[in-house]
């Protein structure tokens, strides 16, 4: 039951973009087409899971025992940057098809605040290793769901005439607002 509540909470109620505003840059930036949005969503899922697993390991077994929590930000961002590079190289060797699908999105993820955000968030919440990893997976699923829905809406939006003043980013933000309004409907679910 505890896990069901955590999963619904991470995917819908506290949706990482629409309720916590983490990862807003790629959410606005790479959501023009459903196909690119899906690629970005999968890349985030991949990196966020691995990154959170590694950062919680480092935090629990290295930083906390040595009393070095003040180095958390620096360590985490370096671990994430290194991991992204490594994932990119490994994917290139092992699975060229997956690399082709996710390749272009991987470098962008280093500066995606959702990845660092979730890594810090789980240490703030004091989750155990398993809880942290699960939370990361389902936060990323929430990110993917939100960005794919949003890209679908934006594809339709291109076909209708919007007033000149709000074309581009403003109308995207306003649409995201309406989507956030819809997601607020999940608020009482847990």
């Amino acid at each position: 039951m505890y896990y069901i509540i955590m999963i619904i909470g991470a995917v819908f109620v506290n949706n990482i973009i629409l309720a916590q505003f983490l990862g807003a840059c790629p959410f606005i930036g790479v959501s023009n087409k459903v196909s690119t949005a899906t690629g970005m969503g999968l890349a985030v899922l991949f990196v966020m899971t691995i990154a959170t697993l590694f950062t919680s390991l480092i935090n629990n077994y290295f930083l906390i025992p040595l009393g070095l929590q003040f180095l958390q930000t620096i360590t985490f961002i370096l671990v994430i940057a290194a991991l992204v590079q490594m994932v990119e190289m490994i994917l290139k060797k092992i699975s060229p098809t997956l690399y082709q699908a996710l390749g272009v999105f991987l470098p962008l993820i280093t500066t995606n605040c959702a990845v660092l955000g979730v890594a810090i968030l789980v240490t703030m919440k004091g989750y155990s290793l398993i809880d942290s990893t699960l939370y990361a997976i389902f936060s990323a699923v929430g990110f993917a769901i939100a960005i794919i829905i949003f890209a679908g809406i934006r594809e339709q939006l291109d076909l209708v005439g919007t007033p000149k003043g709000v074309q581009g980013v403003p109308i995207a933000l306003i649409t995201a607002g309406i989507l956030a309004l819809a997601f607020m409907g999940f608020a009482n679910l847990v």
Binding site: Q20, I74, N112, A176
Partner: protein
Amino acid sequence: MSKLSIVTKGFIKENPTLVLVLGTCPALAVTTSVENGIGMGLATTFVLVLSNMFISLLRKITPNEVRIPIFIVVIATFVSIVDLLIQGFVPALAESLGLFIPLIVVNCIVLGRAEAFASKNGVFDSMLDGLGMGIGFTIALVIIGTIREILGSGSILGYEIPFMKGNEILIFVLAPGAFFVFGYVIALTRAFQKK
């Protein structure tokens, strides 16, 4: 380019948030009140000025291939300093900004200025550029924060506004309001710039 225009270009003409649409996460997340906006803006300005200065100092000895990791380490160092300072001296602000102080590291504005300006220009110019961009970011946060605080909680800087209090539109301090206000503020900035 004159020294003054290096500072002032970040205010409106190249405002990092309203024109270039960088740093959207904090612009959406911490603007529930003007006070939070100012706090976040000043913290980011501090990081921008010092990281720009340091990166500019190191620009001649930074190998081109590993410049991004070096930038990130410099930025992360200053962010950690700001984080600890805020926790030590203004714990209330640390409480309300929370997660978003360490997240200054991944604010695209800071890395963007390091790459676009500080790695190519002198130390003093880079500091001025950081200052200008930081102030521009603060201006954007204050504008969004003002609108959201007046409409959403009927007050400004914590002082109640007679008619607005009691007629609050709660949605503006919640998540959807952030997106709406930010969207319209960008649209308005564009309209002003065309003139």
